[in-house]
């Protein structure tokens, strides 16, 4: 049963184990459920495909996409949800749908579409981890994919200009953050005192938004006003990721310095 589980994902920065939401969701879930994952961070020597990251490889399986990876881990008996009631399991699915519909477009926009953010932070970061010549092509493709997704899912009439779509998605995202904050209240995690799948998803979406330093920060400013969500992210980082962050900065010291060098004005 102790098959070696290896996760390939985007690396970290700004205090996070990964700046990519989907990779972070899988890493958080693995920590919560106790799955022994060996994390291999993509750097510019990695030869595999980057489109499907995060990817979980075992001896005979390759699984991509966070939902499928989490299902696979559950089947291997690494289940973070066994204490949840049926209703809480149903709530988990509903809140994940809420995150994907209301929060994800604005997060994608902040990282990949907003030009100041994209050209000063996102593109250099990803390009430094992709070998030349792909580093010239892939970030642009990811950016276009994000814009495409936003416009196709939210851009129909009566919103005819990109600014109207942007205004609408940021409004929806702020409402979603408020709803999450109301739901979390003063508890440690969304369902009691132990973290579950929903906590992994919320952490995965919120933590990059919270920690990465961007020039244009309207959503981040809104998030920082919701102190219980910030406390939630910090708690998880401190409890579950502190030891491995030490390992990260030891191995990737050069990368770390490059990251901080770029961030400080």
């Amino acid at each position: 049963m102790a098959a070696a589980l290896e996760l390939s994902c985007w690396g970290g920065g700004w205090g996070l184990p990964s700046v990519h939401s989907e990779s972070l969701v899988v890493m958080a879930y693995a920590k919560f459920s106790g799955a022994p994952l060996k994390v291999s961070v993509i750097d510019n020597t990695w030869r595999g495909s980057r489109g499907d990251v995060p990817i979980l490889t075992t001896d005979d399986n390759i699984v991509s996409q966070p939902a499928k990876i989490l299902n696979f881990l559950r089947k291997q008996k690494y289940n973070a949800d066994y204490e949840l009631s049926a209703k809480q399991g149903a709530d988990t699915l509903a809140y994940i749908a809420l995150l994907e519909e209301k929060l994800l477009p604005a997060v994608l926009h902040t990282f990949w579409v907003e030009s100041d953010n994209y050209f000063t932070v996102t593109k250099p970061w990803f390009a430094s981890r992709i070998p030349f010549p792909l580093s010239l092509i892939l970030p642009g493709r990811m950016s276009r994919g994000a814009l495409n997704r936003i416009l196709l899912t939210r851009g129909g009439p009566p919103l005819y200009h990109i600014q109207e779509v942007e205004a609408q998605i940021y409004r929806d995202a702020k409402e979603c953050l408020n709803l999450l904050s109301n739901r979390l209240g003063t508890s440690h995690f969304f369902f009691g005192d132990t973290p579950s799948t929903l906590d992994a998803y919320v952490f995965g979406f919120l933590a990059p938004l919270y920690k990465v330093r961007f020039p244009k920060v309207q959503l981040q400013v809104h998030l920082k006003q919701l102190s219980n969500l910030c406390r939630f992210c910090d708690d998880i980082l401190n409890s579950y990721f502190r030891l491995s962050l030490g390992a990260f900065s030891g191995v990737n010291r050069n990368q770390w310095q490059i990251d901080f060098g770029e961030v400080l004005p």
Binding site: K87, G89, A90, L93, A94, R183
Partner: protein, 263 residues
């Protein structure tokens, strides 16, 4: 709509009471309307019935193109036109009728989350089945979608719509899903709804809300629409409390009000 336009519409909406001649527009029921549009229209009708607001249903072949957002159904109230369940709920709220007033903040968050679940999984699965499953597309969708138009317009419009929907599916990651995976997602969604409903009459106990209207619209349409195979409705039939829920709403809000059985 921009923030200013929304505030403007709410102001205007608030001043006039609900008129007697409010109408709801959808496509032709017998030959043209598709599964997902029928579900949306039924959800709005159920919502308005729950608010006790009279509405007349009018079927027009070009309803989709008349709508301000390109989606059906839309309602024509006084001199305003509002489409889709979300904006209609806001509009009705501005007029002073609200079904979710009695809910606290956490319940409102839950209600919004479940409505997104239905839109994210059930509606997308319906669209997938209608437009990306070759058997259904060939036998049912193309013929129905283009039925009011002469050749070759009927084919052109149907192919255009299919291309649009397939593009959207690829963008959200459903492009590579197989029909079995989609049906499994539907099953997961129905299981979540069934678990949330439990033994209560409505999702938030005694009073129906817009979530009940939305779920009823989708489930009833899935159960009563004839497709190339019955797999979709079989997934819903596995959950007896959902069947009882649909029957209860149908009886209470449609039959008893003298509207007769829903066709």
């Amino acid at each position: 709509m921009s923030l200013v336009a929304e505030a403007f519409v709410s102001q205007i909406a608030a001043t006039e009471p609900w008129p007697e001649n409010a109408t709801l527009y959808q496509q032709l029921k017998g030959e043209q309307i598709l599964l997902s549009d029928n579900a949306a229209s039924l959800a709005v009708q159920a919502f308005l019935q729950m608010c006790n607001l009279p509405i007349k249903v009018v079927c027009r072949a070009n309803a989709e193109h008349m709508s301000p957002s390109g989606k059906v159904p839309f309602i024509h109230v006084g001199n305003q036109v509002v489409s889709e369940l979300g904006p209609i709920v806001q509009f009705v709220k501005a007029k002073g009728h609200c079904l979710s007033d009695g809910l606290d903040e956490v319940q409102k968050a839950e209600m919004k989350a479940y409505m997104e679940l239905v839109n994210n999984m059930l509606l997308t699965a319906e669209l997938y089945l209608q437009w990306c499953d070759e058997a259904t597309v060939g036998e049912i969708t193309h013929a129905r979608y283009g039925s009011p138009y002469p050749w070759p317009l009927n084919h052109i419009l149907a192919y255009q719509k299919q291309w649009e929907i397939k593009r959207k599916m690829r963008a959200i990651g459903w492009g590579n899903k197989t029909l079995d995976q989609v049906l499994e997602d539907v099953d997961q969604c129905c299981q979540a709804l069934s678990q949330r409903l439990g033994t209560q009459p409505y999702f938030f106990n005694k009073q129906p809300t817009e979530l009940d209207a939305l779920v009823f619209g989708h489930l009833y349409t899935i159960l009563t629409t004839q497709l190339t195979n019955d797999e979709l409705s079989e997934k819903v039939k596995n959950y007896s409390n959902l069947l009882a829920f649909c029957r209860r709403i149908e009886q209470h809000y449609f039959e008893e009000r003298g509207k007769g059985r829903l066709s």
